[in-house]
């Protein structure tokens, strides 16, 4: 008897020690809500609620109605949808959304996070990259969830098409799903789970009601994931903005919400560029007039289709990058070191060149028609740079900047439209370990509508055979070579380098006459205007004013030219000059919101509060979603002790940008003053975590000191050259007085 008992004991020990018989995976059931409840209870038993009770997706924001786990099988598969939507399915399968999770370029980074901090932290990333994984409770230690049901499909059809509403535009998965349904009943009630195709075809209107929402066509829908931040629970440091393609769009001319853009354009949403209608190739019941909105979401990612062998997606992505008039490359000017005179705009003025001349070339890159920055989002991994070559008539290379080295890495001295993220150890944040970011050493991206001036200096060799061919181009590679090496190992195939835009000019050794412009060239006034914008962004205010004055000469009726001079003078603290220019702008265009905004700033400085408020109210009336106008009008009301009005403006500002620290700061004070102490405390806390860490720049400086090969890129004004220091006889310097470093010919 004892033996039997002991045997039982031994058996129990073995079974307990083994624990290797596991639960059968859940199945999709017709009774999804009952099944969900049971499923969620099972998941909750072992789920790592590290970030708080019921916080199932923190530090991400993905949410689902009922705020509880949902079984993966509740999401009808893409193959199921593909039966009737063959075109959309085939496009989606090659697109980034379907590969958002499984791609090695994502996994390599997120795997580091889950190995170093824990899988629960990966909910931050997977709220967008694998929302079914998050909401099914798979992201926990010792998960019992069958991952084959969702890993390979990333953002499947029924994730996006189950979104019922959006959270504030904070990103990181700022959506709220419902349990997926592909039909509603006759009363409009959602019918969860898969429904026979015949039923859907009989009631296509009820299918549409279940899977389509009008806000799917808005930029805010995209913002749910194309905006990201690094919250305190992720980095144990403080809130940091990560990327914000949505805000960049909102500030661009395409949103028609920002009166302060340098140029105007037609209203265009994210979908307007990235989901263009195209003729059907495969049958699809979602088509209209034989066309379907693209479910390829063409953008810049060439690495994923290259890796997966999705040739069609790769071809179309390259076509997309090279198609639109996204960038303008302008070989704007040269200066000979012998006299320092600017010869500009090239093509419009005659000049001479000779062997042994030391020449500075000024290249202006305009982000002309991208609705966000060049380059957006994960710019620590994406790689866009300027390549500049000078060759003589025999093909001999005189100068080359922005080349790829033999190991495939970009020359460190290239002008790259990138940023440099610095970690807690003052080192470069490699492998997209965003949770270690403490500061940004520099950020050389070009915002929508703005321009960047890049300077190259070279000597024309004594034996050079004319003419010289000078070429500037903007190249793009997805992804940076060091990251590709880290992900794939160093012996991987070369990933595509795409030339997005370029411009060449021929320079004779001797006389150079005026030349006809290329059809792709900007008009001359715009060339000067872009130079002015670039100078402004490099804090060279005198040069910027000079450039904008050239615009005035060419287009005296163009009100924005005067406003551009004014805003430069405001930045330069020359308020009297600024007022003169704004008055001329408003004389040409009396209701010009842009000029009124800057005039309001001058009125504030002059103590003309009524005029200041009147101007800003006029701007807000015409541009209710202008964050700048809302922020300044709130400040104006606050200064006048008009607290309720000020609160209204800052609340409106937070509705536009939930991370605006000025709004948090002012609301913390304003709420307190009107007796709303709880709300004040909330805003105070938000300000405290979102404000810039004043010690962070020290990290950046230490990093730059340790990396002299790139530190010059952190200086807004710099020259790329292979010439030894001091070999140029007249290296131009940025202006410090009222005149330019060079002179205009």
């Amino acid at each position: 008897m004892k033996t039997v008992k002991h045997r039982k004991l031994v058996a129990m020990v073995v079974v307990a020690g083994c624990s290797c018989i596991l639960l059968e995976p859940s199945r999709a059931q017709s009774d999804i809500s009952g099944e969900r409840k049971k499923y969620a209870e099972e998941i909750r038993e072992n789920y790592n609620f590290h970030f708080g009770k019921d916080k199932i997706s923190t530090p991400g924001n993905a949410a689902i109605e009922g705020n509880d786990f949902v079984q993966p099988g509740a999401f009808p598969t893409a193959e199921y949808c593909g039966a009737c939507h063959q075109e959309a399915y085939s496009q989606w399968r090659q697109a980034l959304h379907s590969n958002a999770f499984r791609t090695p370029f994502y996994r390599a980074s997120v795997n580091i996070l889950l190995r170093t901090k824990g899988i629960e932290f990966a909910r931050h990333c997977d709220s967008c990259h694998n929302p079914i994984g998050v909401l099914s409770g798979a992201l926990t230690q010792d998960s019992k969830v069958d991952r084959t049901k969702f890993d390979a499909d990333g953002l499947t059809c029924t994730t996006c098409h189950s979104v019922q509403r959006l959270q504030e535009t904070a990103g990181n998965g700022g959506f709220v799903l419902a349990v997926p349904a592909v039909m509603v009943d006759e009363n409009g009630k959602r019918i969860p789970g898969e429904v026979p195709n015949d039923e859907i075809l009989k009631h296509r209107d009820r299918h549409s009601k279940a899977v389509m929402q009008s806000f799917y066509r808005t930029p805010e829908f995209c913002a749910a994931c194309h905006k990201a931040n690094l919250p305190n629970p992720l980095n144990d440091y403080k809130f940091l903005r990560a990327f914000t393609a949505y805000d960049e769009w909102q500030n661009s001319k395409f949103s028609k919400r920002n009166p302060l853009t340098f140029y105007s354009g037609d209203f265009t949403t994210c979908q307007g560029c990235h989901m263009k209608r195209a003729p059907l190739i495969l049958p699809d019941y979602g088509a209209k007039n034989g066309t379907l909105v693209s479910h390829r979401w063409l953008a810049g990612n060439t690495a994923v289709p290259f890796y997966y062998g999705f040739d069609e997606q790769l071809k179309k992505t390259i076509e997309f990058l090279q198609a639109g008039n996204y960038l303008n490359v302008d070989l704007f000017a040269i200066k000979k070191a012998s006299d320092g005179k600017m010869i500009a705009p090239l093509g419009s003025v005659p000049f001479t060149l000779a062997a042994n001349d030391v020449v500075e070339a000024m290249v202006v890159i305009q982000n002309k028609n991208i609705g966000h920055s060049l380059i957006p989002e994960v710019r620590d991994l994406y790689e866009a740079w300027a390549e500049f070559t000078v060759k003589d008539a025999s093909g001999a290379e005189v100068y080359h900047s922005g080349f790829l080295k033999a190991d495939g890495k970009l020359d460190e001295r290239a002008h790259s439209f990138t940023n440099r993220l610095v970690n807690t150890d003052n080192g470069f944040v490699d492998n997209h370990k965003v949770w270690t970011i403490h500061s940004v050493a520099y950020d050389n991206t070009v915002q929508a509508g703005r321009s960047s001036l890049i300077r190259y200096e070279f000597r024309i060799p004594a034996n050079a055979k004319g003419p010289l061919t000078v070429t500037a181009r903007v190249n793009y590679r997805h992804l940076r070579q060091t990251y590709l090496n880290n992900v794939l190992g160093e012996n991987h195939p070369a990933y595509p380098v795409i030339e997005i835009a370029s411009r060449s000019r021929t320079l004779n050794l001797g006389e150079n006459a005026v030349a006809d412009p290329d059809p792709r060239d900007n008009p001359e006034w715009m060339r000067w205007n872009n130079l002015g914008i670039a100078y402004l962004d490099q804090f060279q205010y005198a040069d910027a004013v000079q450039a904008f004055n050239e615009v005035v000469k060419l287009r005296p009726e163009y009100a924005d030219a005067y406003t551009n001079i004014a805003l430069t003078n405001i930045a330069w603290e020359k308020y009297g000059s600024a007022r003169d220019s704004l008055e001329r702008a408003l004389a040409l265009s009396p209701d010009d919101a842009r000029a009124l905004y800057y005039l309001a700033l001058l009125e504030r400085r002059a103590g003309n509060s009524d005029a200041e408020i009147a101007d800003l109210e006029a701007v807000v009336k015409r541009y209710p979603q202008s964050r700048d106008a809302r922020r300044d009008l709130g400040t104006s009301y606050y200064r006048e002790h008009k607290y309720p009005q000020a609160i209204e403006q800052f609340e409106a500002l937070l509705a536009i940008d939930s991370d605006d620290i000025a709004a948090h700061y002012n609301l913390a004070i304003l709420y307190y003053r009107v007796g709303m102490k709880e709300k004040a405390a909330v805003q105070q806390a938000l300000f405290a975590t979102k404000k810039i860490d004043p010690t962070a720049p020290t990290n950046s400086l230490d990093f730059l000191r340790g990396h002299p090969e790139i530190s010059e890129e952190s200086v807004p004004w710099h020259v790329h050259t292979d010439l030894a220091e001091g070999s140029a006889t007249h290296r131009d310097q940025p202006s410090v007085k009222g005149m330019t470093g060079g002179s205009y010919q």
Partner: protein, 162 residues
């Protein structure tokens, strides 16, 4: 009590092996393996003495006399260029190249005379070779289905190796 000693001795000797079995497979959870094999599975995990970061996992499902098994072998190579061909050789010369399952993936099927049918995927992620083997005695399972299971599991493993 004398009768109990051999049992306890056996338990003591076997316990390390069972403890190994209780360890998590770093490349795949049992639910995912169970999904591929069609039901609940038993799991054993073995670490390599030469590199504790490497691990072999074995998932087995038995349904009556029919057996389904998923074997995962992961090994860090000293020099991938030289060593990987020996892993790939497990598939023989008629292996089919597979896209996007790590680097240099190949797939093949092997049937032996005793009724065991296998689908293999051999690949590497950087300097780590991995071999995925789905084995069954289920004669009704289509070869394509067996191969797809191996491919799907290989994608899961590769993803965790990146």
């Amino acid at each position: 009590m004398h009768g109990l000693r051999p049992i306890l001795l056996t338990v003591t000797l076997l316990l390390p092996a069972f403890c190994r079995a209780a360890e998590m497979c770093p490349w795949l959870n049992a639910a995912t393996a169970g999904g591929a094999l069609g039901g609940a599975v038993s799991m054993t995990v073995a670490r390599r003495d030469s590199n504790k970061d490497d691990a072999n996992c074995d998932f087995v499902r038995k349904q009556g006399a029919v057996m389904y098994e998923l074997r995962i072998e992961v090994q860090t190579m000293g020099e991938a260029v030289k060593e990987f061909p020996s892993y790939r050789a497990q598939c023989g010369s008629d292996a089919t190249p597979l896209k996007a399952i790590g680097n240099e993936a190949v797939a093949c099927s092997l049937d032996d005379k005793s009724g065991y049918r296998s689908a293999l995927v051999v690949s590497r992620v950087r300097d780590r070779a991995f071999v995925i083997r789905v084995i069954t005695t289920d004669s009704a399972m289509a070869a394509a289905s067996l191969s797809e299971k191996a491919r799907s599991m290989a994608e899961q493993v590769a993803g965790n190796l990146f």
